[in-house]
Each structure stands twice: as C-alpha cells, then as structure tokens.
Symmetry: C2
DNA sequence: GGCCATATTGAAACGAAGTCTCAATAGATG
DNA sequence: CATCTATTGAGACTTCGTTTCAATATGGCC
C-alpha cells in the first residue's frame, strides 16, 4: 500500500508557505539577478491560489498599471526559471495545456479539482513499483513519467458553482 | 503487485494489427461516412509506427500529390473522430505536445522511447489503488488521470543514434 | 440508376500560445 | 563608480489549432 503524504491547499487566505522574501532569496541563491520585473512577477505568482497559465500572468501584469511594463518574453522566461528552482511546478492538463502551481518541490504528484482548482499534493509515487517492473520486463532506461489526477473536490460536489479550470 | 499485460510495438514491418478495412468498417459502424479524404488519412495514419502529431500528418498529406487535397481542418477533425472510436490514442508528451499512436483502445498507459518512439502498452493501471486511497482520504470525486512513462529503449541505449520524438 | 437530405469538406481568416532577435538597460561585483 | 554581463521589452514570427461558410459528395431510399 502506498504511503501518501498529502498536503491540501484549500484555504484562499493561507494559500502556501512561500513568501516573497524566500523566493527572492532562492533566486539570488541560484545566481539569478533580482530585477524589478522579476519581483513583480513573483508578486503576481504568489497571489495565485489556483493553477494559472503563463498567458494569464501576462494579461494580469499588463493590466496592473503600477508596476513596470513587462514583456511577454520576460514572463515566460521567468516562469521557466521559477520552475527550474522549484518555486513553481508545471502541470500539464489532460488537454495538453500547461499550468503552474506554487511551491511543490521534489517529486510530487497532484490531485486537482476540475472546478475550483483546489490542489492536493502527494509525495508517494505509485509509479515507483511500476517503474521497477517495466525496467526489468522491457529493459527500457526509464527517465520520466507524467502522472496527474483530476476530479471534483467535496465543496464543488455540493455547490454546483460551475467554474472553469484555467485554459 | 501489478498485473501488467504488455504489448510491444517494435517491429517496423508489423506495426499493429489494424488494417484499413477494419478501420473503415469501424468508421461506418459508428455512422461516419466513408469519404475519400478520410480514406487517405487512414492510409497515412496506418503508415506510422511511431507517435505522430496532427501537424505532421497535415504536412505528409500535403506532400503526396496523388491523393486529394486535404485541408488542415479535415485532418484535425478526422483525428478527433479516430480517437473517439479508439482507432487512435492521444498521448500528451511531457512538454505538453499532443501526439497520436495507433490502436490501443480502452484504459491503457504507455511507455515511450524518447529516441525512436517505440511504444510499450500496458493495461494494468497502477493508479487504481491510489485512486481508492485518494477518494477516501480527500473525498474528491476522481474523474480522470494522466499517466505516461518515458525512457530509452534497449536498442537506442546501445546505438546512440540520436533521433527526436515528434514535437 | 437517380434524388435528396445532410454530413463532410477546403480555403482562408482568425486566434491562442509560445519563441526569437537584438539593441537598450540595469544588477552585481570589485 | 566603472565595467561586465545578465536581463529586458517590443514586436515580428512560428506553430498549433479553431471557426466560418459556401460548395461538394455520401448513403439511404425509391
């Protein structure tokens, strides 16, 4: 039986433990410069409690007139960087659309609510056993796998408030 | 332990058991008309022994001057139809790019060679147990999951003939 | 075989998502 | 503060996919 360490992100006002300070320290710790655009992007990212797409962020940053004007390329590049240093995790939706969620470093998998985007993270990877079997049976050198689970969370089962998961 | 029924597609000249006749029968059996464009697309699809993208097919069909001119929309629509009747299976690559492979109806998962595209299909879903656990632990109503495994097949481990999996 | 209702098609415009280029700018380090 | 170099932004560009709509072809029926 799998040993599932589960972490649920479901409280809008206490979305995740990442703070701007931590993220910025992580950035510079990895040798990345702490620029104004990056800070604005980190701000925007931390505001999200649900999976979001790159294009969504671009739109948000374009609308907020306070911060600096941030180009599309910069947003995409920064999201890549943040994913590389495990501040963000990139999740490919069943349709193939990539989205990002905050702060689940290491090998994790996710259970996402298709309605409200609530995310449950679990560290136990049920594929480990399978990988062993596949390795011995096929002699493949297995390098990667994709596993994400989708459904509807308890709250959304009752209220049928129809929302749409970000495209 | 999982019970893995594995099917390997690795012989270029005996790629899969699907024939044009079978596919066409399946199409009409589902109420779809047997048009010339569809026949050309089925031909092209059956020629593939590796995962292919929609855009790849569009290009191939545009290059072959013999058959009818086939519009991009028709290719996309037909691939959708073929996937709906389980002649094709749509697989999302780690990067998010959708590709298609032949003839693995039902609930299956795949192990793909990142180099040559060889595909191993297995019916046993290691996620079943996990789904049970997640259901009772989180009360989510679980509806879908994505699981694909990627690696390098034995042949490609030896010859380092570098190829690229279709984008 | 010929008719007809309608499923299907293709061309092209459109849209979304993401990449690339390159000159200009701005961190960080000494 | 000067310098080296990472970073940026604007926009052109590519790729992938969808939509529209008039024209066409298919399959069932007589």
């Amino acid at each position: 039986m799998y040993h599932c360490d589960m972490t649920t992100h479901e409280h809008p006002h206490q979305p995740h433990t990442l703070t701007k300070a931590i993220v910025e320290k992580t950035l510079s710790g990895h040798g990345y410069r702490l620029t104004a655009p990056r800070q604005a992007i980190v701000d925007a990212v931390l505001r999200h409690t649900r999976p979001f797409s790159a294009e969504q962020l671009v739109a948000e940053l374009a609308e907020s007139p306070d911060g600096p004007k941030i180009g599309r390329a910069t947003v995409y590049r920064t999201l890549e960087v943040l994913a590389a240093i495990d501040v963000l995790t990139r999740i490919v939706q069943p349709g193939g659309h990539p989205t990002y969620i905050c702060g689940t470093p290491g090998h994790r998998h996710h259970l996402l609510c298709e309605n409200c985007g609530k995310t449950v993270t679990f560290t136990a990877c049920p594929v480990d056993d399978l990988v062993h079997r596949l390795t011995t049976d096929t002699n493949f050198e297995i390098r990667d796998h994709v596993l994400e689970v989708f459904g509807v969370c308890p709250t959304c089962q009752h209220h049928d408030n129809v929302q749409t998961v970000p495209a």
